[in-house]
Symmetry: C2
Subunit: 224 residues, 2 copies
C-alpha cells in the first residue's frame, strides 16, 4: 500500500464497482469503499451527482481528481501504478490492448450482462427470466467467445503474451456469468477460453474481489 487511500463510491457486489476494486487490488493501492444506497436512490442525490452527473456507480476520488465510469477509472488506477497493464510506452502494445478492451466493452459485456440480469437478477427481483433474451444473448456471446478461442491459440492473453486490462476487465462479469448454467456450457467446448478464465479467476486480486460478489448480490444477507 502506498499513498493516501482513494475513495470508491458504490456497492462492491456491482460488477462495475468490483472491476475498480480488482484493479486497486492488482496494484496494491490503498482504498476505501463508500457505500451508495441504491435502494434509497442515493446515486441520484446531489452529493453523488456532483461526483458523477450521470447518477451511476462507481465514482472514484483520488485526491482532487474525481472520475466516473468503471473502465476510465480502471485505466487511471493502472496508468498510475502499473502502466504496463495498459501497454504504455509501446505503441503497438497500447493499441492492441485498446482493441481488446473495446471488444470486452462492446461485444462481450452487452451479451454477458443481459444473461446475468435474466438468470440471476430477475429471480432475485421476483421476475421471471425472459428465456428469449437469454437465448439471443447466449448465441451472440458464443460467437464472441469463439473469436477469443482462436485468439488465445496464438497469444497467451487477449492482447498478447502478457496480461493486460483487457483480460482483467472481464473478471467481475465472468464471475457472475460462470455461476449460471450457460457459463460452463459455453466454455466447455472452448478449452483455451476455459483455461484463460481459470487463470484469471485464480489471481490473488480476483480471489479477493470474488468474496465481495456473493452470487445472490447480498440479497439473502439483507433479509436475515
Amino acid at each position: 500500500m502506498e499513498g493516501a487511500a482513494v475513495k470508491v463510491y458504490g456497492v462492491a457486489s456491482s460488477p462495475f464497482v468490483a472491476t475498480v476494486l480488482l484493479c486497486l487490488e492488482e496494484v496494491g493501492a490503498a482504498y476505501e469503499v463508500i457505500p451508495v444506497d441504491l435502494a434509497a436512490c442515493e446515486e441520484k442525490a446531489p452529493a453523488h451527482l456532483a461526483r458523477n452527473p450521470l447518477g451511476k456507480i462507481p465514482a472514484l476520488e483520488d485526491g482532487d481528481l474525481t472520475l466516473f465510469e468503471s473502465r476510465p477509472i480502471a485505466r487511471h488506477v493502472l496508468r498510475k501504478h502499473k502502466p504496463e497493464l495498459l501497454g504504455i510506452g509501446n505503441m503497438e502494445r497500447s493499441a492492441t490492448v485498446d482493441v481488446w478492451l473495446e471488444v470486452e466493452a462492446h461485444q462481450f459485456h452487452p451479451s454477458a450482462i443481459a444473461i446475468v440480469r435474466e438468470c440471476i437478477g430477475a429471480p432475485l427481483r421476483g421476475r421471471a427470466c425472459d428465456q428469449a433474451v437469454v437465448d439471443e444473448n447466449v448465441s451472440k456471446l458464443r460467437a464472441v467467445l469463439e473469436v477469443y478461442e482462436a485468439r488465445l491459440g496464438r497469444h497467451r492473453y487477449l492482447a498478447g503474451n502478457n496480461v493486460s486490462i483487457a483480460d482483467l476487465n472481464h473478471f467481475t462479469l465472468m464471475h457472475y456469468f460462470m455461476s449460471t448454467e450457460y457459463g460452463p456450457a459455453l466454455l466447455g467446448p472452448l478449452p483455451r477460453v476455459k483455461a484463460w478464465w481459470e487463470e484469471l479467476a485464480a489471481r490473488p486480486a480476483a480471489r479477493k474481489v470474488a468474496t465481495f460478489m456473493p452470487l445472490d448480490f447480498g440479497v439473502d444477507k439483507k433479509k436475515e
Copy 2:
C-alpha cells in the same frame, strides 16, 4: 503528410469508418480507403476476417500492425501523431479524456445511433420508422446532452479547455443526427452544446469528412 499511407478498410459514409478518417485528417496523416462491399457481405469473407475477426468495419493497417474497432484505431492515430488529444503525459488530463470518451461510447452513441437508424436508415431500406424507438432514445439522449450542457458551462470542451478525442469522436454520428428533425430540436434549448457542435463541425478535418457522408449514405448515387 508523413510516412507511408495507412490503409483503412471500410465504407467512408459509415460513421465508424468516418471517425477514423476524421482523426487521420486532423493529424494530416496519409491514408487510403480500401472499400469493403457490405452488400456482398465482404466484411464476413476470410480476407476481412483476417483483419477483424468480428467481421465489421473499419479495420486499419499501419505497416505490420492491424487494428479494428473505431475508437482503438482513433486512439492509435492520435497517440502516434497528436498525443495531446489523448492527454498523454498528464495523468489527470488522460483520465478525464477517458471518462468523456466512455460517456460518448456508452451514453451518447447508443441513443444517437438508434435515432439515426430509424430516421435515416429505415426509410432508405424501405422500412417504416419505429417511432417508439425514436421517442425512447430522444428522451435518453436529451438527458445526456443536458449533462453536456452543464459540463460545457464549466469547460470549453468535454474533457477540459482543450479539444480532445472525446469531442472529436462525436462528430460523425452527430453529423447524421443533426440532419434529423430531432437534432435541431434537442440542441435548441442547449446553447452551449449547440455552440460546441458548431465549432466541432467547422473544423477543417470535419468539413472534409462531412463530404464523405452524404445524408442518404450514398444510396441515391448508387441508384443513378
